[in-house]
């Protein structure tokens, strides 16, 4: 069972207007992982998901889901997939129960009221089951979309910006729902521009920009590899400039010379000569006294902004 659940090879999508939304994307999604697809608006996140789910026809390349090609074996491939779209789209006059049951039937599954009840309860929609969709709040409507996607017991769940426009409390609740699904063995692919979300949830992260998958990495490895640390030193007496003896270090003065900022990466930490210990002893030699110090690990957000800037 080590085969990837989704295998994407050389996927390219050129829209009729000539816009190249995806450029030769290769990606494997492993069973049971949470994969976050990050990228700015218009990067190709939704197009990628749409091709896999059958909403957009690919121009070139192949995609298989659980070993089934999404075009020649679309029935088998799609039966594995649940999709929660980005926009809140609902049949306004239907009730929650009916619309979720409809989705199950549409995906070719026999009616199973017990399963629908389980899904609605898990999403705290049970009390609203007889409400018409138009009477629900935005957050509730989004839960209905998730319930619809889960109605046919998919093995892969796509969440296209699941928490866009959702308040903080509800966002945390959604994350819990996603984690529980993962415990049940569901593979989850989510797109987001909230880095916090990817950082909180994902096992692996893919960054997409201008239709190209610029990077795919384990989250922790990504932070470690690209994460830069900063050491901020509060000085006793302000400096006019960085003393010459400290030139080998990547130092910058801030707050009119009263703060010294040292930026270093994981690699520098390993090498003794540019490490913190080396810096501190150099400071002592230069007779610079320190009032306070603190370090900061750069977040995924910083990494992401850097990446997008670099490759743009």
């Amino acid at each position: 069972m080590n085969d990837p659940i989704i295998r994407i090879n050389g996927l390219t999508k050129t829209y009729d207007g000539g816009f190249e939304a995806l450029k030769r994307v290769d990606l494997d999604i492993q069973r049971g992982e949470i994969f976050a697809l990050l990228g700015p608006n218009g990067a190709g996140k939704t197009t990628l998901i749409s091709v896999i789910c059958g909403l957009v026809s690919p121009s070139a390349g192949t995609v298989s889901v659980a070993g089934h090609d999404i075009i020649s074996e679309y029935r088998a491939a799609r039966a594995h997939i649940g999709l929660v779209p980005q926009e809140l789209t609902n049949e306004a006059f239907e009730t929650v129960w009916n619309t979720v049951s409809f989705s199950r039937g549409l995906f070719g599954k026999p009616p199973d009221p017990a399963h629908i009840e389980k899904v609605l309860r898990a999403l705290t929609l049970w009390d609203k089951r007889n409400n018409r969709l138009m009477t629900l709040s935005g957050g509730m409507k989004r839960r209905v979309l998730i319930a619809k996607a889960l109605s046919h017991e998919p093995r892969v769940l796509f969440l296209d910006e699941p928490t866009a426009g959702v308040d903080v409390a509800l966002r945390r609740e959604m994350w819990d729902v996603v984690r529980r699904l993962r415990e049940d063995g569901v593979t989850i692919i989510l797109t987001t521009h909230y880095i916090e979300e990817a950082e909180e949830m994902a096992d692996r992260i893919g960054v997409i920009n201008y239709g190209k998958l610029v990077l795919v990495e384990e989250k922790t490895a990504l932070i470690q590899k690209l994460g830069r640390k900063q050491l901020t030193l509060q000085l006793h007496t302000p400096l006019a400039q960085v003393p010459e003896g400290l030139a080998p270090f990547d130092l910058a003065l801030a707050d009119e010379g009263s703060t010294l900022v040292y930026t270093y990466d994981a690699a520098a930490r390993e090498e003794g000569e540019h490490g913190i210990a080396a810096l501190l002893s150099a400071l002592k030699t230069a007779n610079i006294r320190i009032k306070d110090l603190h370090t900061r690990q750069s977040s995924l957000e910083d990494i992401f902004v850097d990446l997008i800037k670099e490759r743009a």
Partner: protein, 253 residues
């Protein structure tokens, strides 16, 4: 073929009809009754018999056809247009179903509603005029085939339309005129010879004529031509739908 998705679509569409019962069933019945009062009673009383049948009874098949065509087109076009408009069509496109299943669900529901409507109008008509159905089997066959064919046409229009205006355009500018000029209210023998010739290019003439034949055994064109016309229409609609789904026209970028 998996029957669960077909049933899901069909039942959801029938539920929509039930929600809009007034607009779906009551209003066509009222407007048909008005036709009977105006054409059948007020005007019809001054028109002598047509082909040996009282004018009131003569227009019944044409009126049912008129409602059948317009209602089939509008039901089916709205049924598929609305999810496209609201965006909920994503679900239909991502589901593991074939286009045939989608079409059977939507067209089946729209046609069922039209057939029911046709039968209700027939029952209403029997209150106004003495009715007589010579070939009940053929009558039902014409009813069902016409409802299915024009529901398919409506389905195509619903996919083609990218706004509410276009959704109304075809029924208003094409279907209604063709039906009025299709011999619903007259026998084409009553027209001058030139217009009789022109009328033969109107496909609706064949439908109305065949349907009327099933009632009274009289027709403007041969019954074979009527059946052939419906079959041709059905084939064209089926081919168009197959093309739509194979190319993703207006559905899949």
């Amino acid at each position: 073929m998996n029957l669960y998705p077909v049933r899901a679509i069909y039942m959801a569409e029938i539920a929509r009809v039930r929600r809009t019962l007034l607009q779906s069933i009551v209003s066509p019945v009222i407007s048909t009754s008005l036709y009977f009062v105006v054409f059948g009673a007020a005007i019809g009383s001054r028109i002598s018999e047509v082909d040996g049948i009282s004018y009131g009874a003569f227009i019944v098949p044409g009126l049912i056809m008129l409602m059948l065509l317009t209602q089939s087109v509008s039901n089916a076009s709205f049924g598929i247009f609305f999810p496209k408009f609201s965006g909920s069509i994503y679900e239909l496109l991502s589901a593991p179903i074939s286009y045939l299943e989608i079409v059977i669900g939507y067209v089946g529901a729209a046609a069922s509603k039209s057939i029911l409507l046709g039968l209700i109008i027939l029952a209403t008509a029997s209150l106004f005029v003495p009715l007589h159905i010579e070939h009940p089997f053929w009558m039902l066959l014409f009813l069902v085939l016409t409802a299915v064919t024009f529901s398919m046409l409506g389905f195509i229009i619903g996919i083609w339309a990218d706004g509410f205006e276009k959704l109304q355009l075809v029924p208003l500018l094409i279907i209604t005129p063709l039906t009025f000029l299709g011999g619903s209210f007259y026998s084409i023998d009553m027209l001058p010879p030139f217009w009789q010739g022109v009328t033969l290019f109107n496909p609706v003439v064949y439908l109305v004529s065949g349907f009327r034949w099933s009632f009274y055994g009289i027709s403007d064109v041969s019954i074979g031509a009527s059946v052939a016309m419906i079959a041709l229409f059905l084939a064209v609609c089926l081919a168009t739908i197959a093309w739509i789904f194979s190319t993703g026209y207006r559905l899949k970028p």
